[in-house]
């Protein structure tokens, strides 16, 4: 368990450039998340939200800077230690990522694999205590009666709730969610978001969740992190934020100073064009009025 005065996640000057990519996916990201905080990541697609989340549990390794999750420097961990850390961090995916051919219960049980040695095939190969726990979590998300159904027979919202139960099997201290409701209908979306909030409160979880609905983010999170082109452009509590301020995150994306300069040049050029065109038009108008003026007396 983490100390209450050490942050749950501390990121310092994180940079990530994918091999073969021209511009970095993340650049100079520094932030820290306190235990129990509910943070929402906002930004256009491609702004680095998923990449940032994936650094927290070591699915990605940074090209620069460091990520310290639950007191451990993620990039330094290998093998069993890395798996142990991942076991303490739950992850919810946009596409749920359940194994469709397995039963709902077995999917939930896979969340507990980090505590077991060796592979498991079939529900009965998991210890009884884990099975009871899994059913308890399924009951918590309201899907106990679906335990023995194939996971791919459930609706999207139900599958996401199963994924939440799977994450709960890890007894996580941090919950990461990558666009958890982006593929759900509005009704299931609000159900799932409410469920995550409730569970976070029950277990005093630290939550980092990327979203793309600004209104939802404002009402749901405690703090908003705005990403644009791999950089943090906004980091404030939701209390003193207006919708308009948040919308600025989605302003035209410019990542580097040269790009900004280019954009400014483009803007100046456009202004120049408008000016010359207006000058032409006013000149023409003057000529016309002159003509009229000359003709009228005749």
């Amino acid at each position: 368990m983490t100390n209450s005065d050490t942050p749950a996640v501390r990121i310092t000057d994180l940079g990530k450039t994918y091999p073969g990519a021209k511009s970095p996916a993340l650049e100079g990201v520094s932030l820290s998340v306190e235990p129990g905080e509910i943070v929402v990541l906002l930004g256009l697609s491609g702004s680095g939200k998923s990449t940032l989340l994936r650094h927290v549990n070591g699915l990605e390794t940074p090209t620069k800077g460091a990520v310290v999750s639950l007191g451990e420097t993620v990039a330094d961990l290998r093998g069993r230690d890395l798996r142990a850390l991942r076991g303490r961090i739950g992850f919810i995916f946009q596409q749920f990522e359940l194994v469709g051919a397995l039963s709902v219960l077995e999917n939930v049980l896979t969340g507990g694999l980090a505590t077991l040695r060796g592979p498991r095939v079939g529900v009965l190969t998991y210890p009884r205590a884990l099975r009871e726990k899994a059913l308890g979590h399924l009951d918590r998300v309201g899907l106990l009666e679906f335990a023995y159904q194939r996971a791919d027979q459930l609706s999207g919202g139900q599958q996401q709730r199963v994924a939440i139960a799977r994450a709960l099997m890890q007894d996580p201290e941090i919950l990461l969610a990558d666009e958890p409701v982006a593929s759900l209908d509005p009704e299931s979306s609000s159900q799932v978001m409410a469920l995550i909030r409730e569970i976070a409160a029950e277990r005093s979880l630290t939550v980092i969740c990327s979203l793309h609905q600004v209104d939802l983010a404002l009402s749901w999170g405690d703090r908003i992190l705005g990403l644009r082109g791999g950089r943090v452009v906004l980091d404030t509590s939701t209390d003193d934020l207006t919708r308009e301020e948040v919308m600025e995150i989605y302003g035209r994306v410019a990542t580097t100073t040269s790009e900004i300069a280019a954009l400014e040049d483009e803007l100046a050029e456009a202004r120049e064009q408008i000016r010359t065109r207006e000058a032409e038009r006013s000149a023409a108008r003057e000529r016309l009025t002159e003509d009229f003026a000359n003709e009228e007396p005749a």
Binding site: F91, G100, T110, L116, R131, E132, F146, A163
Partner: protein, 608 residues
């Protein structure tokens, strides 16, 4: 008024229309077609399909038929009595059920060997496929190694493994046959297993990784459930192929129906009368087995409704509705129970219809596989006491290494290789020409009416159902030993496969251009030559290469039963226990197969 610029006359402009260089896939497609045509014609000439040889073939067939009739089916005895006028009168008498029972046991042991061998191959293929799939392999070197294992296992005929193991583990019963089928099948099975792994959805695997799962847990919980239906389907398909292959294994003494056939062929006049019934039994067995295996395959792949078709959509909708229905009902009753009791009640999975069904199928499968091993009863203990001296003993002039061709010169061996290749090319050309008629006419968008389509589909289906290797053996027996008969049989056998593939790929052609041509008043023939055919050319070339690969392999095997070529040299070396020669021929065969497979991969890549 503006005046249009003077336009150059049409002729001049036509000359300056840019002609872009043809695309690579076009060049490759037509190149392959021309090459197969040319090599096919060269092979026909090389194999001496003259009128004279056709005449000999005709005589051979009629002689065979006089010898093979009247047929002696199990349960009957045919006895010839010489009459006073020099002719022979045949009397057929019923001898009871004993021979029928014996035949039944022969079929059972054949099936047991096939199932045990295929099951062994499936198990061995799992680690090989794990290493050979790009998304699971631990290292590039492991990838190359595992793919290499696959290529070699595919290239070495199972008959070689049988003979080597039969000597290595002397007197071990069916062990050599099971292991031989197992090792050879790893070639195809591991490749298709790896393909299935490469096609999985990576998401669930990633989810298990982020929950802290190990590599092994990722594999068993994230990958295996996704690929299992495909894997079982592959194994069933391979079992089908292996059943046909056991006919050839009979030549080197593997028990089963192939051995019976070999015995009948060498059993004098009384044996010859059993040949046709045996071949008929083999064909019926193969057809029945294929029907069962394809029914199982559709059932297996049908369990998972993931497609976009109307059937899948409906079944998904139905199951979701059922789920929702049961859900609401039990929530109502569950509310009354307390949380603990609810969970306790859910600890035991109810025996609903799907659970009973699944359990029955799983246990039936296990029972069949275990039963196959038990019935075949291989003496596994011999595996741990191999008699290496039989394979490697310098004192008795017996060595595997160094490989050499014995008394044969390189020219002889190359001549044999060329014969095998000629059989394959002649068969491919023959199959291609017949399929060029049968295939399109079995396509919905080409056939003038449904009657024609169904007739040609039926023809392809019937040819496909008959095992071509078995037919080839019958041909070789009937028409006399020689490559002509082998090529003929393979050529006709290939129609079943190629015609179906061509028909399918023509139906898959986008139908927009066809409609446009019809709207412009084109006839059906014009539509076919202007739209359907040019658009399906790349697919057809790819199928043609596949058939060629198959035919090279089959031509090698046919050599063993008398079609000549490299297979015949291999059989001679095997029978003489000259393992250095066996190794040399096996290396030649591997080289041949690797060459054809790489050419095929390159061509298919160029077609994309």
């Amino acid at each position: 008024m503006t005046t249009l610029a003077e336009r150059p006359v049409l002729g001049g402009r036509l000359a300056s229309v840019p002609r872009p260089a043809p695309r690579l896939s076009t060049i490759v497609s037509y190149g392959v077609i021309i090459a197969i045509l040319a090599l096919g014609v060269w092979s026909f000439i090389g194999l001496d399909y003259s009128l004279k040889s056709l005449d000999t073939t005709g005589k051979n067939i009629s002689r065979f038929l006089t010898m093979a009739t009247p047929m002696q089916w199990p349960g009957w005895e045919v006895a010839g009595e010489r009459q006073a006028d020099g002719t022979t009168a045949y009397v057929t008498t019923w001898v009871g059920f004993e021979p029928i029972w014996q035949m039944f046991l022969t079929i059972v042991i054949t099936l047991a060997l096939v199932i045990a061998g295929t099951a062994l191959a499936a198990v061995l293929s799992v680690p090989v496929a794990y290493g050979a799939a790009r998304n699971t392999t631990p290292h590039a070197a492991v990838l190359a190694l595992c793919r290499g294992i696959g290529v070699v296992a595919r290239a070495v005929p199972d008959i070689v493994f049988v003979v080597v193991f039969a000597i290595l583990w002397f007197n071990s019963g069916t062990l050599p046959a099971i292991v031989a089928i197992g090792l050879h099948s790893v070639g195809m099975i591991s490749k298709m297993f790896a393909d299935a792994i490469e096609q999985i959805d990576e998401g669930p695997r990633l989810a298990i990784r982020s929950a802290g799962g190990s590599k092994a847990q990722e594999f068993w919980s994230g990958i295996v459930p996704q690929v299992l239906p495909a894997w079982i389907a592959v194994a069933l398909h391979r079992a089908d192929i292996n059943l046909r292959g056991t006919v050839i294994l009979g030549v080197v003494g593997v028990v089963g129906i192939g051995y019976e056939l070999d015995g009948a062929l060498h059993g004098g006049p009384a044996g010859m009368r059993r040949v046709i019934p045996l071949v008929v039994i083999i064909i019926v067995l193969c057809v029945l087995f294929e029907i069962v295996s394809s029914l199982l395959r559709t059932r297996l792949l049908g369990v998972q409704p993931t497609g976009k078709g109307i059937g899948d959509t409906v079944s998904r909708a139905v199951s979701r509705k059922q789920a929702a229905g049961t859900g609401s009902v039990s929530t109502g009753s569950a509310r009354t129970l307390d949380r603990h009791a609810r969970i306790e009640a859910a600890m035991h999975r109810p025996w609903d219809r799907s659970r009973i069904g699944n359990t029955v199928w799983i246990w039936l499968g296990i029972l069949v596989v275990v039963g196959a091993f038990v019935y075949a009863a291989p003496d596994v203990t011999k595996m741990f006491a191999p008699t290496w001296s039989e394979l490697v003993d310098p004192a008795r002039d017996r060595a595997v290494w160094p490989p050499h061709f014995g008394s044969r010169s390189w020219a002889d061996v190359m001549g044999a290789v060329i014969t095998t290749i000629q059989i394959a090319f002649a068969a491919t050309l023959m199959g291609a020409i017949i399929s060029a008629v049968v295939g399109p006419l079995s396509a919905r968008n080409v056939a003038p009416n449904s009657w024609v389509r169904n007739t040609f589909r039926g023809i392809a289906l019937v040819i496909r159902a008959i095992p071509d290797l078995v037919v080839a053996i019958l041909f070789i027996i009937a028409a006399g030993i020689g490559p002509q008969a082998g090529a003929l049989a393979l050529g006709i056998g290939g129609v079943g496969l190629l015609a179906k593939l061509i028909g399918d790929s023509m139906e898959e052609v986008p139908n927009g251009p066809e409609r446009a041509l019809v709207a412009g008043g084109s006839t059906r023939t014009q539509v076919f030559f202007s739209s359907t055919m040019p658009m399906s050319v790349p697919a057809m070339v790819s199928h043609l290469m596949y058939l060629l690969e198959q035919n090279i392999r089959s031509a090698t095997l046919l050599g063993i039963v008398g079609a000549g070529g490299i297979g015949f040299l291999l059989l001679n070396a095997l029978q003489g226990r000259h393992f250095d020669e066996v190794l040399a021929y096996v290396l030649v065969i591997i080289g041949m197969v690797v060459l054809v497979e790489s050419a095929s991969i390159l061509i298919r890549r160029a077609l994309k």
